[in-house]
């Protein structure tokens, strides 16, 4: 079956623009995670959804970052007034069960955001 998909795969934004990144998780997966991966670093946790509920948003770096998953399926990560330091690969992952314990996360291909 289809894995996790993300769109767009590449996004170039001018500083100050708003961007929206989309994640389509594997059908039926309860949990959805967003990560930010800067060049040469490992993925850093941004936020976690269990169905439509955002249970942890402690990793969002500022109030310019906003994520939603209104129907418990597709999720959108929105970044307002983008800054150069927002340039990174944004990864989405989903898993069948709740939380992280005993649940394998399936990753999407990522969206590479470049802010000029």
């Amino acid at each position: 079956g289809a894995g996790v998909s993300q769109s767009p795969r590449y996004k170039v934004a001018k500083r100050g623009q708003d961007v929206a990144l989309r994640c389509d998780p594997i059908s039926g997966h309860v949990s959805l995670f967003w990560y930010q991966q800067a060049l040469g670093q490992g993925p850093e946790f941004l936020t976690y959804f269990q169905n439509e509920a955002q249970l942890d948003k402690s990793g969002l770096p500022s109030d310019r970052f906003f994520a939603e998953r209104p129907e418990g399926s597709v999720s959108t990560l929105k970044i307002q007034r983008t800054q150069q330091e927002d340039s990174a690969v944004y990864l989405c992952a989903s898993s069948l069960g709740r939380g992280t314990a005993y649940n394998e996360q399936f990753f999407g291909p990522g969206t590479r955001l470049t802010v000029l």
Partner: protein, 108 residues
């Protein structure tokens, strides 16, 4: 604070040689440890987790709580093992903490 440290950014070995990718963690509790792998032009995927106690593609990892380590080992490296490897930790929260990664290069 929760932290995962992978001290080597790059590890280069010859085909057939043993390989060990180091991972140390900091966590005040009982974490679940993972190794994720990313092959060239592929997405990040789970390689193994300590709770499963399994060997995947010849790789094993033992959780050493005394040394707070979860090193990944393989007795005989293959060229197809060349990839980026990330050690990761999950605890009671919903976060997974990743290390910075080690690039393994297996030379013919």
């Amino acid at each position: 604070a929760q932290r995962v440290t992978q001290p080597e950014k790059l590890l280069s070995v010859f085909k057939g040689a043993p390989v060990e990718l180091k991972c140390n963690y900091s966590y005040s509790g009982s974490p679940e440890l993972f190794w994720y792998v990313q092959y060239s032009r592929q997405r990040l995927q789970l390689l193994l987790r300590h709770i499963s106690r399994e060997s995947i593609k010849g790789f094993t990892a033992d959780l050493n709580k005394g040394e707070t380590s979860f090193h990944l080992k393989k007795p005989f490296a293959q060229e197809e093992d060349s990839a980026m490897y990330y050690c990761a930790l999950s605890g009671l929260s919903f976060k997974t903490i990743f290390g910075a990664g080690t690039r393994l290069f297996v030379k013919a």
